[in-house]
Amino acid sequence: MDVTALFRHIESSEFASQTLVANDADMFGEIAAGDRSVQYLIAASRDSAATARKILSRVEELRALEDDFRYRNARDAAIATYLFVLMQYNRPLAILGAESVVRACNVWWAKRIAVAILSGKSTTPLVGDATKPSPGLHRTAEPHRTGEILLAARSDSRLIREGRVANQVGFQKVTSNTGFSYSSSATTAAKSTTLVVNNNHG
């Protein structure tokens, strides 16, 4: 897919509007990751160093854009998304982008993602499960109330099996005689979350 077309979509007000419902940086990343264009861009940046550099250049261009000084940079969501994209497979470039963005005064989400990158925090998962509904602009469904949701997989199962995501989001590997699982105390919610992992890969 043409990278310019992906840029055009990510810089559109349609995309910005989609990310506006985010309540924090993690949710922003989650919404961005659910967008097809972002998924394509992540794949492209993983496969081509030239594309990754192009994304970094685009961050610089947008950051320097002369905009209406009364308002936030209209491409704020796009800059934040590009940093998020770089963060997935090109961390050194993400740090370069974040260092330039964190000083800018008319961006908001971009600054929050930049702070997360520079302070080494993960803001949401690697992009992954295409079978999950895109978290973007959908109305919530009424709950089924048939049971508890146990699996809070925040990325694709391959990565969880490899333990990378588990480490990244602070999950602890717990070994038992039936295999192993990852448990998390990463949230302040009352219950902890358990990721049950296929023990064939243990």
Binding site: L20, R72, V102, T140, E142, T188
Partner: protein, 174 residues
């Protein structure tokens, strides 16, 4: 460089609001300086109306989020992960949805993680003469604006596990 990010949103960040719970615990928060451009807010307004046609807009500002609306008088943005801190320190108690009344708090959870918060605005009967009721909530949808909406008329990213809290006290003279 480090000086730019150290203390971001903390008690020592001059840009953060001095926001404390009743137990005098600081709550990390961050304040955007600029509003979003009008054309983006307008687009968001149209998208939200398309998403939830029954939702009624109240106000549109990108300077605060749902937690800022519910717990900080619309002055700042607070991450949803801090909701339990407010509930505990400000002595909220969890109630069943059937006990909820106007002014109580509804928290939306997904995977047991708090994602969104709103204020119970109105409790309407679903049908004339019916006992079933429909909760109308006032909440700020990220930076997209404040809406009066039915309980489940929210973007799916917030989740659909609604739990209710109240800070109501029974006066001793009653």
């Amino acid at each position: 460089m480090a000086s730019n990010i150290i203390n971001f949103g903390t008690e020592f960040d001059p840009a953060a609001l001095k926001l404390y719970t009743s137990c005098n615990n600081f709550v990390s928060n961050v304040r955007p300086v600029d509003e979003l451009a009008p054309h983006i807010l307008e687009r968001a307004f149209r998208d939200m109306r398309r998403l939830c046609p029954n939702a009624e807009p109240r106000s549109q500002s990108s300077l605060y989020n749902c937690v800022g609306m519910a717990f900080a008088n619309r002055r700042t943005q607070v991450d949803a992960v801090h909701i339990p801190k407010f509930l505990e320190d400000d002595r909220y108690r969890q109630i069943h949805e059937s006990e909820a009344c106007r002014g109580d708090i509804v928290v939306y959870f997904r995977d047991d993680v708090p994602r969104h918060v709103g204020v119970v605005w109105e409790i309407r009967p679903m049908l004339h003469g019916s006992m079933a009721v429909d909760h109308w909530i006032l909440s700020q949808w990220g930076e997209a604006g404040e809406y009066f909406h039915r309980r489940f008329d929210v973007p799916s990213v917030y989740g659909n596990d609604c739990r209710y809290w109240t800070e109501r006290r029974v006066p001793t003279w009653m």
